[in-house]
């Protein structure tokens, strides 16, 4: 994926690029606001990471220019408390997410991953099953008014199971869907994720049933 990073603090920019490049992305890094805005005029990226305090043109301006041209590129804004203070609008201005400096770099990587996946993902971000609503945008599952945060693999697992309620999925099948073929994972990982998912959808009419020796199945009680 191509990521455009606009950050004028050298250490920070360097650390972000290093981290993202390590997981296989291409990172273009700019330190000047005006130059960054110019580049965004004619280059498309999969994700833009934008610092707010920049020489030349500030991050909010760049974001406004980008959105004014109807670009839907996901934007992650890096900001300080005192800056969001007057512009709660970081999100209203069209940023998809923001992180407050100083931030945790693992969190930055995780949020980047979410934004990139969201871009590739289905146009439908809501999947319903029984009284459950899976919202991929907010990475959560809703039962009534209560929404529970899910992890990436839990979402995948629920997606797989919810696509065919009642069908029994074998452990190996789920393992493939969750981790792909090349990852060397312990088959018990499926149990782990099923266990976590069960805990998180507790209270819903939908249950994950274990069929001994066969696998797992999603059952929606029609009692309601």
């Amino acid at each position: 994926m191509r990521i455009f990073l606009v950050e004028d603090t050298r250490d920070v920019g360097e650390a972000i690029s290093r981290r993202l490049e390590k997981v296989g992305h291409t990172v273009d890094w700019q330190t000047d606001g005006q130059a960054a805005a110019d580049i965004l005029e004619f280059t498309d990226y999969d994700l833009v990471i934008l610092d707010v305090m920049l020489p030349g043109l500030d991050g909010f301006e760049i974001l406004r220019h980008l959105r004014a041209r109807k670009k839907t590129t996901p934007v992650l804004v890096l900001t300080a408390r005192s800056e969001i203070e007057d512009r709660v609008g970081a999100l209203d201005l069209g940023a998809d997410d923001y992180l407050v400096k100083p931030f945790d770099f693992r969190e930055l990587e995780a949020r980047t991953r979410v934004l990139l996946r969201r871009r590739q993902g289905d146009p439908t971000n809501l999947i319903e099953c029984g009284d459950l609503v899976l919202d991929r945008n907010s990475r959560s599952v809703r039962v009534g008014n209560r929404e529970v945060q899910l992890k990436r693999r839990e979402i995948t697992l629920l997606e797989v199971l919810a696509a065919r309620p009642g069908r029994v999925f074998s452990k190996d099948e789920l393992l493939d869907r969750l981790f792909g073929f090349d990852e060397n994972v312990n088959p018990n990982a499926v149990e782990l994720y099923v266990g976590r998912l069960r805990k998180k959808i507790e209270g819903s009419s939908v249950r994950i049933v274990t069929i001994r020796g066969l696998g797992y199945q999603l059952v929606a009680d029609e009692a309601a």
């Binding site: 360097e14 408390r81 976590r196």
Partner: protein
Amino acid sequence: MKRRETSLFWRLVLRVALVLCGGATLLSAAAWYYARAAADDAYDRLLLGAAIQITANMTVDAGNLGVTLPSSAFELLGLAERDRIFYRVVGPDGRTLTGYDDLDIGINVTAARAGPVFLTTEYRNVPVRVAVVSRALSDPSFSGWAYVVMAQTTEARRGLAGELTTRAMILVGIMSLLALAGTVLAIRYSLLPVDALAATLRARDPQDLTPVEADMPRELKPFVGSINHFMGRLDERVTLLQRFIADAAHQIRTPLTALSAQVDMLEDDDLDVNRKRHLGRVRDRVSQLARLTNQLLSHAMVIHRSDSVRFKPVDLGDIARKAFRSTVPITVDPDVVVSFEDSAEPVFVRGDAVSLREAIANIIDNALQHGVEQRLAVRVRREDDRALVEVADDGPGIPPAEWAAVTTRFVSSKMGEGSMGLGFAIAAEVALAHRGTVRFLEKGGRDFTVILDVPLYREGT
């Protein structure tokens, strides 16, 4: 040694009491003096009356002076029951005609020629009052001055004087007590505004450094003026200090982000166990520092906003959801069930969205840092006319004894590791600005719950 506490009340009471005591003593002395004079006056008349009756009963018969003692004279004196009476009638030749011969107490009876003479003396070792009355006899056969000396012991007089004095003293005493009681009441009443002022100051929120405005007697005005002046200066200092802290935190932020970037770039793959452990510690400390810096900025921000931003109706559910999403990291432990539950009906409050979000975010952050083991639940609901944001976790919670302390700055809970930082202080600050509170619910088998409780917005309020 401890210095004695001075009290305006006791000072005044003591002084008034001294004056009253002095006054009462003087009055009592005067009363005694007048009572004695009055008693003397009354009994002297009786004595005189009796003596005059005796003189009137003197007869000259054939050149002999005779006297018959009229019983009425003694009846008159008998009114003073316990007193004894002595008398002596002296003829012109100085002989005692009748009565006590030895009632010759060195008086010059001739002084009585001009009019009755009274004197106080002792007779037979008893104090007596003596009256001497004269009568000029001008019978052709017998002429000269005859005298009657009447003496009466003074018991009745003293009794009367004593009784009069006692009554007067009782009155004086009652008056003094009334005056003292009145003074006490008056002082208490006059000092009421002082208590009221103290209560006003005590009831004040420590954050509130605006001038004291209350109805004060003129005498207290300089005092209140000084307090206000002092608070004004304190307010300036506090504002300066807050700005300084915000600036400092802001300045720290950039190098801190850079520092955490550098730490992040340290590869720990090729480090031995020991160094890996040190690096881990450095990472923890850096993120702790980052958290604290953010809290400082957040604190400065909510304080600044609390008196500079106009409140408007905002949806607390919406704010809480935003706070929840931005605060719970994606990298949170996957075994923790993190949930958010909005109220079925909209929950509007009058407030500042940014401050409220900071408050909720900080409560959630605290739970994540110090509480959560398996479960973190954020709920927004309304209860009567209150809007509640509840953050419940299944961690150890905070013991009730520490509830009051954790909403003040940098107090560390003994249960958790290290300082709670500013999280609850920020939340409490915001709650206060919204006329609400931050409350805690005892674990009691269930989850430990922190509640941000603010009044619900109603049309027209």
